[in-house]
């Protein structure tokens, strides 16, 4: 029996069934909806998980806590399928502990019909931050209710790194956000998928998976518009989720088998076809539905790929400073 601690809706049922048949074992899943929740549960002493799928900064935290088991790469021949651009990351140099699973990009999602003919620069964060464009969209824009994500978008637009922690740059970003704020409907991290689908909100700063979901829902409801995604030219935040082995897991052998199974192109493609997630697996490309595979917002070209950044954790003092800036943003 393999114990998998995974995000909600982050693997296709067919994939699980196929693995169960292949290994003659059972896969038991437990779910979380954010990294903090997962870390907190492990910190509180939860054990018995063979595999976890955390985002980069959480992988780093787990490595630093010495909670992970090093990988035995001889058991992972399919590792060669992974695009080298997603290997050897800052959070796990040399991939001693982690294997890329899927990624999300934080980008711009918009309603194809409502924005038609408005002549907006949809390939730039300017459309989210510049009042001269926002005027046309007043009350129909939401941005993520996340300190790090929104700050990162603003920093990127200003030409800084998403991980820039210079306080004067943060203050510039703050002023940019406060100037744009009157035109936004809300800070929203939960209901913007629905609002996009219904047509109340026309443009969002949101996660690629959510925008894909909103598009699917809009098509299923025959709304007569599409929800499209666009990757701003200034760059964006990439969240790479990786498979790691928890030390407390009783079956590292099965876990290795599962990782290698998931590195297979077809198995890996099924998740992307299900939720529109980014896929670091080159062998998966032929199996991905063409419309998703050709979406350059989720599968960007080399040049764009270089402008994507993963968020690193801030230390406690920085977190407190940012939180104060965030309070100011919310209050003004």
């Amino acid at each position: 029996m393999l114990h998998l601690y995974n995000w909600n809706n982050y693997i296709s049922d067919t994939t699980i069934e196929r693995f169960e048949k292949q290994c003659a074992c059972r896969v038991v899943q437990d779910y979380y909806s954010d990294n903090e929740e997962m870390l907190a549960k492990l910190a509180a002493g939860a054990t018995g998980y063979d595999l976890i799928v955390p985002t980069g900064n959480a992988v780093e935290a787990l490595i630093r806590q010495q909670a992970l088991r090093p990988l035995d790469k001889r058991l992972l021949p399919n590792l060669k399928n992974i695009d080298p651009a997603y290997l050897d990351t800052w959070f796990d140099p040399g991939n001693q502990y982690s294997v890329p699973y899927a990624y999300t990009i934080t980008l711009i999602g918009y309603n194809s019909e409502k924005l038609r003919g408005m002549d907006l620069p949809l390939d730039s964060w300017a459309v989210v931050f510049e009042p001269r464009y926002l005027e046309k969209l007043k009350g129909h824009v939401t941005v993520l209710d996340s300190q790090r994500e929104l700050l990162a978008a603003a920093l990127k637009y200003l030409g800084y790194s998403a991980n820039d922690d210079d306080e004067t740059h943060w203050k510039q970003a703050r002023d940019l956000i406060i100037r744009a704020k009157p035109y936004w409907a809300a800070f929203n991290a939960s209901s913007y998928i629905k609002e996009l689908t219904v047509g109340n909100i026309w443009l969002v700063h949101g996660y690629s998976n959510d925008i894909f979901q909103a598009d699917l829902d809009a098509q299923n409801a025959a709304r007569g518009f599409r929800i499209l995604a666009s990757l701003p030219k200034e760059g964006a935040v990439l969240a790479l989720d990786s498979m790691v082995l928890h030390k407390s897991g009783p079956r590292p052998d099965l876990a290795h088998r599962f990782i290698d199974f998931m590195l297979d192109g077809r198995n890996s493609s099924e998740l992307t076809n299900l939720i529109g997630s980014g896929n670091p697996n080159l062998a998966a490309r032929p199996f991905i539905q063409p419309e998703i595979a050709h979406n350059t917002a989720v599968f960007p070209g080399r040049a764009q790929q270089a402008r994507l950044e993963m968020l690193r954790d801030l230390d406690r003092n920085r977190r407190r400073v940012l939180s104060r800036i965030w309070t100011e943003i919310k209050l003004r």
């Binding site: 800070f187 977190r319 209050l331």
Partner: protein, 303 residues
């Protein structure tokens, strides 16, 4: 009082303990002890991945021990006090609107015949049968820009040449939902109080020449003050800590102290500062309740 206790029989004493024991234990376990833990946490350093830094560390390089930095941070500038004031105003407005809406309703119910009264009370507590979040999601649909309500309002505003407004994601939406959530908490104590009033008093007042307004203002209203204070406390105290409503229905400026506290524990992973905010909120609320209790002690002399 003490004399009576001395004469209390052993069985009465046991009964008293049996009755007051469970709630006392409950309060101790779930209020007093967590409260002490929070006070303690507010004087510590935040841990690197959330949680708290250790109290003692083998390696003196790592951050450990106690500090008053969170309090210094809070009182270091005005912004957090501003959030407090804002939440206070929101909670006060909720309380007043609830009071104005609940009073006539409670009076109507209290003066209805017995069968109708029970039915009406059932209707008042009906919202409790579903989780309030479901109600909030319903409000998101009702207040949405494509819903009839918002469109009708904008047509009417258009007639007078006023620019259209958006209800969802606005302070108005927050206010509506707060009143929706807390209205029953105002109706119930008011009704309980008003129902006990002796109608003979009103007859007597009428015989003495008081008109309807005077009968209300000089008899019913003073007698109902304990109900007003009880209802106001039941609305104000939870309302000031509300975070779900502003988060779901609020616009870009509708932050309350509850949101700030939640953010410290989840987004910022700064437990000590979150604890500090929670403790200061508790103290502020206690202060308000104390003031109200003083006022009600003075005002309640008719009851």
């Amino acid at each position: 009082m003490s004399e009576r206790h001395d004469k209390e029989s052993p069985s009465a004493r046991i009964t008293r303990w049996l009755v007051s024991g469970p709630p006392l234990l409950f309060l101790l376990l779930l209020v007093a002890i967590p409260g002490v833990i929070m006070v303690f946490a507010s004087f510590r350093y935040p841990g690197e991945f959330g949680g708290l830094a250790p109290l003692v560390a083998a390696d003196p390089q790592t951050l450990h021990g106690l500090t008053i930095e969170t309090y210094r941070f809070f009182f270091g500038d005005f912004i957090y006090a501003e959030v407090f004031i804002k939440s206070f105003v929101m909670a006060l407005a909720t309380t007043l609107i609830c009071l104005v809406m609940a009073y006539p309703l409670a009076l109507l119910i209290a003066r209805s015949s017995k069968q109708i009264r029970n039915l009406m009370m059932l209707l008042v507590i009906l919202p409790f049968t579903s989780n309030f979040l479901i109600g909030i999601y319903a409000w998101m649909i009702i207040l949405g820009p494509q819903a009839a309500l918002n469109q009708t309002i904008n047509v009417l505003l258009g007639v007078f040449g006023i620019a259209p407004v958006q209800l969802l994601f606005s302070p108005v939406a927050v206010m509506i939902a707060m009143v929706y959530v807390y209205l029953p908490f105002m109706v119930l104590p008011l009704y309980t109080n008003l129902e006990k009033h002796d109608p003979v008093l009103l007859d007597a007042a009428q015989d003495l020449g008081a008109n309807a307004w005077q009968r209300f203002w000089r008899v019913t209203f003073p007698l109902s003050q304990p109900g007003i204070f009880a209802g106001s406390a039941l609305v104000f105290i939870p309302a000031i800590g509300m975070f779900a409503v502003p988060e779901l229905l609020g616009g870009t400026g509708d932050i309350m102290i509850g949101n700030l506290i939640k953010e410290q524990f989840l987004g910022t992973r700064d437990w000590p500062f979150g604890s500090t905010l929670a403790i200061l909120l508790t103290l502020a609320v206690l202060l308000v309740v104390w003031i109200v209790a003083r006022l009600s002690a003075r005002g309640g002399r008719y009851a």
